[in-house]
């Protein structure tokens, strides 16, 4: 009899039999030694398909947030935050430099400043509320919040 087949060929007998030559197939058919080994590999291969499965423990609410982010009203929040940050810088400047900084700004800025501040606060509040509501709505829709 020819030499026995190698482990790779014996594995291929199960995994990808089409890759095996006719000579190898014939050898397995007539050689008890190789047939036993090939069948052991077949058992391993079959067993590997049915190993115990693992499951994920996920924190779903955190994962939900990014899914529908395009539907969240972020624009109001972003605009409000930007204006607010700008005004904070001005306010900090006034606090630190007093009248000198105030003089740098155009006349009548006092009223404009407070109007802008009010607008920014409204936008910020509305943006936050809509963001929060949308998040809650998503969670409810997915049954994660009653």
């Amino acid at each position: 009899m020819n030499e026995h087949l190698g482990d790779n060929e014996l594995q291929q007998y199960t995994v990808e039999p089409r890759e095996l030559s006719q000579a190898a197939l014939t050898h397995i058919a007539i050689c008890e030694h190789c047939r036993v080994k090939a069948q052991q590999y077949a058992q391993i291969t079959a067993g590997l398909k049915h190993l115990p499965k693992m499951t994920a423990e996920l924190d779903l609410p955190i994962l939900v947030l990014p899914i529908k982010r395009e539907s969240f009203s972020l624009s109001g929040l972003a605009v409000g935050a930007l204006i607010f940050a700008g005004l904070l810088v001005i306010a900090a400047g006034i606090a630190a430099m007093g009248p000198d900084f105030r003089a740098l700004l155009s006349v009548g800025q006092g009223l404009r400043f407070y109007l802008l501040l009010a607008a920014a606060l409204i936008l910020l509040t509305a943006g936050s509320a809509s963001y929060y509501n949308e998040y809650k709505r998503q969670l409810k829709k997915m049954g994660l919040l009653s």
Partner: protein, 188 residues
Amino acid sequence: MKGTIYHTDRELIAAILNGERHAFAAFVRLTENLVVKMVFQMTGGSADRQDLVQEIYLKAFRNLASFRHGSKLSTWIGQIAYYDCLHYIKKKKLTYLEDIPEESAMDVEPSGEVALFKSDLSAILSEAVARLPPLYQTLVTLFHEEELSYSEIGEITHLPEGTIKNYLFRARKILRNDLLKKYDREDL
């Protein structure tokens, strides 16, 4: 609706983006074995594995809209998982393809008995798989459990197909030797 069947990955993703709860759950169910096992195997069962899995899903959902409909969902999330695991391994200076002792891959003759395992195949085989180097474990999961092709595994791991095949040959050889040794011991 419970039990909704999504015929294609495209349908499933559209449903997830639409905020459908069951689509979200279906996506996790379809991919969790692959993701959780890959993380468990590649990081050697690290205590951070749950955080890693969470991060992988977070990344996946954030990028769901960028999923290309030519590829498979499992291959796509597999890539994210593999990349994150490699990043973690590098950060923690772990190894994922340590040297295999010479004897593990030596030729072992058949004992004359066809049935390698009479019972508890699943449990015994699981233990043997867990003793393989991390990368081999992952390749076994991807090829045998997830039934991905060599080219799909190549997409995930960026390994050449020939290398994947060779690693799998070695992995199965080590498994067989490991199981034969175990049975020899038990037979004594």
